[in-house]
Symmetry: C3
Amino acid sequence: MKDPYLFQHKHILSIEQLSPADIFHIFDTATSFKEISNRPVKKVPTLKGKTIINFFFEPSTRTRLSFEIAAKRMSADTFNISASTSSAQKGETLIDTALNLEAMNPDIIIIRHGSSGAPALLTRYVNAGIINAGDGTHEHPSQALLDMMTVQEHKGTIEGLKVAIVGDIAHSRVAHSDILGFSKMGADVRVAGPATFMPPHIDTLGATVCSSVAEAITDADVVMALRIQKERQDDPLIPSLREYAQFYGINKSILRHARPDALIMHPGPINRGVEMNPDVADGSGSVILEQVTNGVAIRMALLYLIMGTQGV
Amino acid sequence: MKDPYLFQHKHILSIEQLSPADIFHIFDTATSFKEISNRPVKKVPTLKGKTIINFFFEPSTRTRLSFEIAAKRMSADTFNISASTSSAQKGETLIDTALNLEAMNPDIIIIRHGSSGAPALLTRYVNAGIINAGDGTHEHPSQALLDMMTVQEHKGTIEGLKVAIVGDIAHSRVAHSDILGFSKMGADVRVAGPATFMPPHIDTLGATVCSSVAEAITDADVVMALRIQKERQDDPLIPSLREYAQFYGINKSILRHARPDALIMHPGPINRGVEMNPDVADGSGSVILEQVTNGVAIRMALLYLIMGTQGV
Amino acid sequence: MKDPYLFQHKHILSIEQLSPADIFHIFDTATSFKEISNRPVKKVPTLKGKTIINFFFEPSTRTRLSFEIAAKRMSADTFNISASTSSAQKGETLIDTALNLEAMNPDIIIIRHGSSGAPALLTRYVNAGIINAGDGTHEHPSQALLDMMTVQEHKGTIEGLKVAIVGDIAHSRVAHSDILGFSKMGADVRVAGPATFMPPHIDTLGATVCSSVAEAITDADVVMALRIQKERQDDPLIPSLREYAQFYGINKSILRHARPDALIMHPGPINRGVEMNPDVADGSGSVILEQVTNGVAIRMALLYLIMGTQGV
């Protein structure tokens, strides 16, 4: 007789740490929480009296807000700290800052940090549960979970699907988490992008590198465009946005290669006309806003599940 | 038999949209909520489980705080987003940002934006109720409502009163909303200010343009000074603050033209000694701080009333 | 027969205002609240429906967060205002800003301000209770209370202890509050630091000025290092951080002069290797993180006690 499944992760640092059983369990939990956000009274007492700190070293609206909404809908007390107001600028080390937060007895610390591995580092020093909300170019696990949940809802399964990811694969923690996650769940993941955006050894993550967008999205069930970081536009890695849009932008024409029922995804915020054309972003296959809605549900599930591992 | 009154505004974008019956109903609702803020326990469960987002593209302390206090005293969950941390700087369009917020199922979005019409634009895209907390030089309806409520409380009526508004009429959304509101409620509104601050066709809003402050405030029941935006002082529209104070500042001397029981009003923050002298701001006729107190009550009423139009 | 003790402070502006009986009562109250932060449900309804405003004119993470956590664990509604978003930049006076806050019926305003005496000034204008969270170089009473509580917990008493404070005595509000507090509770307080950091007439606060760190910490029961403000490093008051560390940094070697069971304290954030070496900060005598934990408990006690003086 098989042991009953038990979610055992005290921290959510990466997709890499999760098994398919974990991921299915997170989907199931998120699905059950999803309807709370559609109620007139969007609030359950599940995490009442829990202290949840949003600790963001990089600016973020949607991820921070998504976690904060998730936490408050479960009645937790939430606290926001951003790097610009934190002790970091006073010369304190990350570990000291974390130990100081820990001394105030938080239950969960959600951290976004520019350095890959920062959230993992903290788990060695604090008792609070840590959720990685994006670390450097490493991972952004809650994003990949909401992406996968959205595909699972529409297609009924991830296994056997063809998933194309287009853009800056090398510098995107979203891409890394998605490649790991979709591969782990049995999808065939293909990536395409400018050579300067393609990391060496990407195949070790589980993706097939394609030499053109057309090749990557041929027969694809899912087409995901990554965000071009326009704010880093002086970056010499791409010659121009116009050229990028021409060769790597997702538009109606290139989509003829994909399956007619392909899901169109983007982690947001979108640069319309650069990595994706408006008629695609707003078209019938687009599930971009469902990704956002599922984001709140996934984060409610993560908060709930890791609290469950802390005992009471 | 007359139909019973029903508040039917899902959004509060302007004074222009409101009828006198609406405005009276908002006053009545605000009056009933006002006493909550004087209780030892300043909290009612009315909006428990509602998600209210303060979305401010321009810095604001008092308006944001007033809405946040109003929301929390009604037990809503509140979330603050400011432009400096929002996706706006990442190149996302306002509509995309709004659609992303919408995907997290907020009940009400309170927005302040530098562009006139931005809140109205959003109502075409989101299901949440929208409250305009100031848009460009267009309107700031909750401010005019709290101004009118304060006058109504003191004078018993607005109809037939003489209301003088002094200052930068052209660039003030407060002035626009107040002119529309007081006129609609039957007051005789007169405006005065430097010619560079006087918009063309101001009479179409319902105000009489006067050539001097003395003329505007003669026999006035209400004297309202607008704020000079000192932070835009390099603005060549006024030659100097000293000269402005001399010709347009409200002081005891000029007030001899008004009625002895005239109410002194200012939307704040005050530049003491510029648009208003301290002895006037702190004098017996001043209701400036009552405006602030009524602001919380008006915003509680608006949140409550527009939630009521959403069904359950 | 002696009158029963009654806490009568409506505001907490300084250690100077508190009697030893007040301080003992704050300790007792904080101790009773401390266990709330260790519960699975870290929340009591004590301050439900109270409005508490954190009004910070200087950046702060830990003090602001500590007060916010304290308030929310007692179910108060909390609001954060920082100087960068406040009306201060619009030219409003501090008193006008405070009166505007007051008009929104807050119960308690917690203020940090760069000017010594700013919190005291506000008490003359507002009805809300005021807590000084640090004003200029004057006082930071909640910090001294949490420092003293930590010593009291470990040593059972403060009376008769030798307490050494090392660093920038002249510019540190923490030092001023600690000198006043520990002296008041019967400790023998000695201070050491560069001559440029030693204010004249420091003895009038109750401390003995020592000519070297070794002298100050000889037989000390408590060794507290103050923070060097690295961000003001262009300050010519110290020749270099390296030299400061050599002569005034707390390290294992200098600690041989102190009692073997001496408590090591620091108000944080620490500049490791400057005012304190890592082996000391992380050593067996260090109670630095307990200070942080007690900070939440002390602030819960202060909020509770001053609310108790407001009647109901």
